[in-house]
Structure formats: C-alpha cells, structure tokens
C-alpha cells in the first residue's frame, strides 16, 4: 500500500523524457508495421498545381514502401535520441514536428498506392487549402480564448460565439442582402456574448466554466428555435445568403504553390492573418499586452500600479468575442451560405484545445489550429479516394493522433496564474 502511494507520488520528472521517447518510437513502429508492410508497390504522386493553372509545377513521384520504412526508422531514431541525449527546447519541439510529419507522410504514401487510389495524385494544394479553410474558425476562436484567458477570464463560450456569429451573419446577410453587414453583425453578435460572459464572470462572480457551458447551451437552444420557427419556413428571406468570393492578392497570389494556398482566398483568411499578427504583437510587444498579461497573472499587482483590472477584462472579452464572431460568420457567409442547426459542432471546444496546446500564445494556438485543420482536410481527402477504412475511423484517427501528441509530447503547460479567478479587492 505504502509502496503504491510512494510510486504514484514519485515525481514524474525522469519519466517525462521516457514518455516522449516511447511515443516517438510507437509512431515510428506504426509507420513501419502498418503503412510500410501493408503498402503496395509503386509510386505515390504528389501534385503541386491546380487543374488549369497558368504555371504548372511538375508532380513528385515517390516510391512508397522504401520511403515509408525510412520515415519509420527515422522516427524510431528520434525517439532513441530523445531517451538518451539531453536536447534543447528547440530540438525537442522540432522532433515532435518531424515525427508527426513523418507519420502523416507515411499514411499518405500508403493511401495513394492502394488499388483504390487508382492513380489519383495527392494534390498538396487542395489539401493545404482545405487545411486553411478548416482552420479559420479554429484560429479566430483560439485567439478569442487567448484574449480572455491572458486577462484572467476563461472563455468556454467560444462555441456559442461561433454559433451565434454564424447565425446572425447568415440572417443579416440574407435579409439585408449586404454581405459586409452580415460580417459586421456576426462579429458584433460574438462581442455581445463576450460582454455577457464578462458581466456574469466579473460583476456577478459566476463560475466561469459553468457560465461558459450554460451560454453555449443557451445559444444552441436559441438559434435552434429561431431556425425552426423562422429560417426553415422562410428560408428565402432569412437563410439564403450568398458567400464572399475569393480575392487574389496581386503578385503574391501568382507565386506557384504558395500563391494559391495562402493568397487566393476570401476576406476571412486575410482577416485571420491580420488578427494573428495583431494579437501576437499586441500581447507581447505593446503597453496593452503588458497590462493584459499582468492582469491575467497577478491582478492585484496591476491594480496597485493604477491599472483598471476589470476594465481590461471587459474589453478583452468583448474584443475576443468579436473575433470569434467573425470566425462564426465564416461558417455561413464564408463557405456554405446557409445556417444549419448547431453547425459549429464543437469547433469552439477544439479552438479552446488549440489555445491550450499552443500554450496560450496566438502563434502557438495558430499552429495547433492548423494541425487540427489539417487532420480535417486529410480525413476528407482520404475519404475522397475511398481508402478501405470506415469513414468514421478516418474521421477519428487524426484526433486520436492529436490526443496522443498532446498527452505524450506537450510538456507542462502553464496557464496565466490568475486564469479563471475573479478579482476582488480585499
């Protein structure tokens, strides 16, 4: 009994490195034993141009089986290195990225050489476009989370902000017929939830986790009800928005490969770029950011140097909500044009996970959101070439990989010290 207690309580310090190493090796073994052994003969093809592009980049042909083995062995070696050598922080992060990348490549090589693929190339550009498209709401939602939590308020209501943003944008854009007004109103709707969250969390000291979940339920119920009573019977008036068309950025948009991925998209992607840069630079290089982080780490320290703690929290939650609202608007007027019930389908919670995975930094959260976005895009690609795996498993596998990655590879993360704690002067 005592031995068990001692073992359970023994510091996990030494084991952390071992856990990471074992995870790496496990990934490597999957690469070799599953994707390598079961792969078929022949080459996988990676295409880098869209159909009908002016400048074409030649496709890449890769012999599947040997490369898959090589990737697997490389992962195992990285794992062994992790267990035996003390590595710098940068090297640790790079090795995480490499192992994940190798895993995905191995999976692609295996899938594209099967009989089902029938010579269809893996189009890298489509895959990356899909990744960005799936990431936009996640990134904006995660930024909203960063804004709130860096100032010390937990924002579980990102889901609700996305959903109400999507709903409002669709209805306004349909009824008024002006897309920009849809975007604006979607953003304001998100901001409104931010304000509501702030009021209850800061003024009435409601538990922030419960509050966020309740708001999400409220918005789900509210939009669901209005959808049934208003949007379904009168779909032409209220749920028939057009969508933003793509805008190609001059010069940049013409660069092969990079151009079509990053610089030929709707306004939403460009807003997202701006938001990432603004929040990242704002938080870490400006007066505003220093104050926000002080409020999130040690509110009484901020208070005693004359900073308005509560004011900063209100402002951040509202601004963050507006970002998430834009992310919500993207779901309707940025992609499909119509609202459907509960269409945010957990994206807000994934955004929250991305924020934590990204250690509460905008750039980290963006990378994490891209990872989630990529898994979505990958799932739909594999589905489209009819890989002989149940689509449900396909939809699940990337998330499982992510859970393993988070549990095994992300070290201790530190939330802002005052995160979730209401501030009261004694």
């Amino acid at each position: 009994m005592t031995a068990i207690v001692a073992a359970v309580r023994a510091p996990i310090v030494a084991n952390r490195r071992l856990i990471a190493a074992v995870t790496f090796v496990a990934f490597g073994l999957i690469d070799i034993l599953i994707f390598g052994l079961f792969s078929h003969k022949g080459d996988a093809t990676f295409a880098f141009s869209l159909f009908g592009a002016k400048v074409t980049v030649p496709s890449l042909h890769v012999p599947a089986r040997p490369v898959t083995y090589a990737l697997g062995i490389a992962s195992v070696l990285i794992g062994v290195a992790r267990a035996t050598v003390t590595e710098s922080k940068l090297l640790k992060r790079l090795s995480i990225a490499a192992v994940l990348l190798f895993f995905v490549l191995a999976m692609l090589l295996w899938s594209d050489t099967g009989s089902w693929a029938d010579g269809i190339p893996i189009n890298v550009i489509t895959l990356m476009q899909g990744t960005l498209a799936a990431s936009i709401p996640l990134i904006l939602g995660a930024l909203a989370g960063c804004m709130g939590e860096r100032s010390g308020v937990i924002n579980i209501a990102i889901e609700g902000q996305l959903l109400l943003g999507a709903f409002t944008a669709a209805v306004v854009a349909s009824a008024v017929g002006v897309l920009w007004l849809g975007l604006l109103s979607g953003s304001l709707a998100g901001g409104l939830i931010g304000a509501m969250l702030a009021l209850f969390a800061i003024r009435f000291l409601v538990d922030q986790i419960i509050l966020g979940v309740v708001i999400n339920l409220l918005i789900s119920g509210l939009t669901g009800y209005l959808y049934d009573r208003l949007l379904v019977p009168d779909a032409n008036t209220y749920n028939n928005a057009s969508t933003f068309s793509t805008v190609k950025i001059p010069v940049l948009g013409d660069i092969p490969v990079i151009g079509p991925i990053f610089f030929d998209s709707t306004i939403f992607l460009y807003i997202t770029y701006a938001a990432i840069i603004l929040v990242q630079v704002g938080l870490f290089s400006t007066r505003w950011g220093l104050r926000v982080r002080a409020v999130g780490e040690h509110p009484s320290a901020a208070d005693t140097v004359g900073i308005n703690v509560l004011g900063i929290r209100y402002r951040n939650l509202i601004l963050g909500g507006m970002l998430a609202g834009i992310g919500g608007a993207y779901l309707t007027i940025g992609s499909v044009g119509t609202f459907s019930k509960d269409m945010s389908s957990g994206l807000g919670y994934i955004a929250l996970a991305a924020m934590i995975f990204g250690r509460w930094t905008p750039l980290g959260a963006t990378l994490a959101a891209l990872l989630f976005g990529f898994t979505t895009a990958l799932g739909s690609f594999l589905g489209s070439i009819t890989v002989p795996i149940s689509p449900f498993i396909l939809g699940m596998a990337p998330y499982v990989a992510t859970i393993i990655a988070v549990a095994g590879l992300v070290g201790r993360v530190r939330a802002p010290a005052a995160d979730g704690k209401p501030y009261l002067r004694e």
Partner: protein, 545 residues
Amino acid sequence: MELELRGITKRFGSLVANDHIDLAVAPGEIRGLLGENGAGKTTLMNVLYGLVQPDEGEILVDGKQVTIHSPKDAINAKIGMVHQHFMLVPVFTVAENVALGVEQQRKLKIGSLPGIPTGLLDRGRARRQVIELSERYGLQVNPDVRIEDLPVGVQQRVEIIKALLRQASVLILDEPTAVLTPGETEDLFRVMRELREGGRSIVFISHKLKEVQTIADKITVIRRGKVVGERPPSTSDAELAALMVGRPVELKVSKEPAKPADVVLEVTDLTVAGAAGLAAAGQDSRNSVDGVSFQVRAGEILGIAGVQGNGQTELCEALMGLLPSGGQVRLDGKDISRATPHDRLRSGISYIPEDRREDGLVSDFSVADNLVLDLYDRKPFASGIAMDLPAIRANARTLTTEFDVRTSSIDATVGTLSGGNQQKVILAREVGRRVRLLLASQPTRGLDVGSIEFVHRRIIEERDQGVAVIIVSSELDEIYALADRIAVMYEGQITGFRPPSVPVTELGLLMAGVRNGAAADPAGSDGNPDDGPPGGGSAGRTEPT
C-alpha cells in the same frame, strides 16, 4: 512632503478596523507603526493607498486635502507602497514589472519631426531606468531577470525601485522584514536611511519591537484600531510591548534548563525532491530538502531557524509522511521512513502545521469535531463504525477548558474562531493525547502576544514532561525563546547547529548560507552538520542560556 491623516475610520461589519486614527509624518522622517497582527495597521495603509475606502476622515498632503479612491490617486499624490505580499508579476522581468503602469512607447523618428508613438513597448528605456535608480540608491538588481528567479530580498528592492520610479515622496513599507534574513534587514535599513537623507518620508509597519526601535525616528503604536501612543525610539521594550498589547507582558517565557534523555527521533540523510512540476519543466531540479540529518532527544526543544522557503515546510511534511522522501526517519529506534501519516500519528508524533486554516483544521467542522480529527476512528471516540458523540463532546468540554479556547460553544464551526483560539484548538488536539514527539511549524504565526505566551508555555510544559520537540520558525525571537538547540536551514540543508547563546549575527550568516564565515562555535563540535547532531546536541545543551 508632509502627510497627515485625520480621524480615519474604517468599519468592516461590526468590526472597527480603524477608529479615528490621526497620524502626521514629516518630510525626511521614518515613522514606525507598531501594532499586533490585526491591530489595523495594514487597513490604515490600504486606506492611504486607495485600496480601501474609509468611512470617515481625511487625508492631507502638504496641508491640502486629497481624495484617494484608487492606487492611481495614491501614486499621483506621490505615495508609494511596498506590500507585505509583493505586487510583482512572477513571470515578468524586473524591468517589465517596474515599467508596468508607466510604460514608455517606442517612437518613430522621421527626420526632424517629433516622434510618432508606435504603441510598441520601449523595453530598453525601462532597463536603463532600473539600472539608473538601482545605482543611485545602491539597490543592486539585474533588470533582465524574471521575478520568480529572484530571492525575496531582491524582489523587495524591485518594489522599492517601482515606488521610486513613480517619484514617491512617502514610502509605506508593510512588514518588510518578515521575509528577510537579519543581513538583508540590515541592508534594507541602509537603503531606508539613504532615502531619508534624500528627504523622503517612510512609514515602517512592523510588529517587531527591536526593528522599530532601530530604524524609526518616532513610533506610533496602534491597538485595536486606535492610536494608543506616540513614543521616541528610545522607549523601553517593556513599555512598547505593554502599549501594543494593553497590559504588561512577559516578553520571554521563563523556562528551566532542559533535561534531555534518550534519543526519540533520528533523521538520517532526509531528502525531498524539488517541486515536481518545476523540475519537469527543467526550471528547478534542486532538492527542497537536501540530505538533512539530526537527532532530537526526549525533553529537549530543537529550534529550526531559517528564512521562509528554505525547505522547512517540506522537511516537516516529509517527517509526517505527507511528501515522499529519501533517507531514514527513526522514531524510538523504529524505522518509520515508509509509514503513512496515519501510522506516524499513531506511533506518537503530533504535528502543528504552519498553515492552520489549510492543513490544521477543517474550518466548517465544529470545535468538537476538530478536536478528534486524529482519533475519530478509535476508542473512546468510536465503537465499530459509529462515532461516540457523547464522548467526543465530553472530550471537547475538557480540552476547551484546559486550553482556554474562547468559543461560543463547542458546536461552533472552528472557522469562526480567532486565529489564537484556532491555534489553541490544534494545540489541544495535538498535545491532548500522549505523544513522543511534537513537531510544530510556525506555531505562533499571526497570533497576538497573549496567545503566543500561552502557546509557548504549553510547548515548554510538553518538553518538561519528556516529549521531544521540534519548533520550526522564521521568527528568531521565537527560536531564542524556546530552543535548547538551534539548527539553521538554508536551501534545503542544515548549515549549522548552535546553542541558544549564539549571537544573532552568526545565525544571520548561517541563514544566508555562510557556513564557515561564522565565528567558531564555543562548544567546538556543534557546527558541523556532517557529523550529525549527537555530539553537538550534548555540547549545545551545556551552554549557559
């Protein structure tokens, strides 16, 4: 700048924390504000700093009335404050903490036009300001280090620099010496004198008589929210203490020389790993207790001195089995290194934890229930699975009387009691049964002088009945008052054992980690922790007290 408070009154519910307090501080004066814990000193200063709004009274600066509704107003009125718990963001650098609230922006210079503010932080300028101020006032500090990596003494300097950068003319220091070694305290006093030379006024809040006498130009004593007297620093200890408490007090509990008998507790090479979380992040892999060995005999008090946070807490928790540890712990010759806390209690250790609200009591339980927290599951308080309520109540009645616990009823929740009475409940529970070893960590922290007297007397009584006692305290006065032998802890190690006749300066050096710089120990063999305590113990005890 001249600062005057007139008739400041602040009530919290029925409690009058400040009752018409008048206080005037002249420019270039160090004013000592002396009072017990809970006398209302901190409330008064929070009023002055805008953290608490007074119900009555006014604040005057240079004869003009000012309204202070927030710390911002206080800063504008040139009032600076160093709080008891530092107001520094641990993950920020020194420069960032100093700049917070008065940040400078980087300006974009184009030709001869006035600079355009970019909104970006000017970190370079903040660094230069810190360096400049630290050089001018001899407050050495590196602007680029994170606060969490600095010792508390240096953190305090950062707080002072913060106030100076905001051009404070009046500096309030709230219990600034509580976290300092004697050497660091000397350093602080030097800085305070330098600031006084520069014409600044300082309000020095403390409950330590000697420090106030050393540094203050004038002493104001507060008791129960009222100013009860102003005295020059030459006033005797006894008079100040009597003013502070409201009746004559025995400053030192009298005790007979110890009559140590057999070894009760023998600790060999006890080691506790550093905080697991920190070590995992590769930030701090030091052991929080690092190879500590000592013995305690029946009938003696071993005092463990040291600045807070040098492993004392972890040592106590390891001795109680609350933290995993390496090394060996033997009680009466029996190895208990792997025993659970429950088994250790049963084998005759009693424990007074340093945080009584968190670890010592269940606040929402009644006094009676709290008195049997360690014995609730055995006779006479339980039979089978049923608690014997009448026995528990009888026990509570006996103990509350014996230990003079002032409570409305034994059914009152213990959280409603005053700190002193809560501590008496713990004391009653822990020494109310037969024990071999009493382990008391910070047993009088935050207690009023009357309760301190009581707790000290009971601890000495326990010793006289042949119990081995360990007292962990960061208050040197308490160590001197109780200990028959003193061990000093620094960064998880015992830097030396000394008899209670050791001078404060020598303890101070040991507390700062200097092992050999201290004067040679008169008892000879006492100072070497590697030898273990046996020789040292007996030598120490023969020293005259």
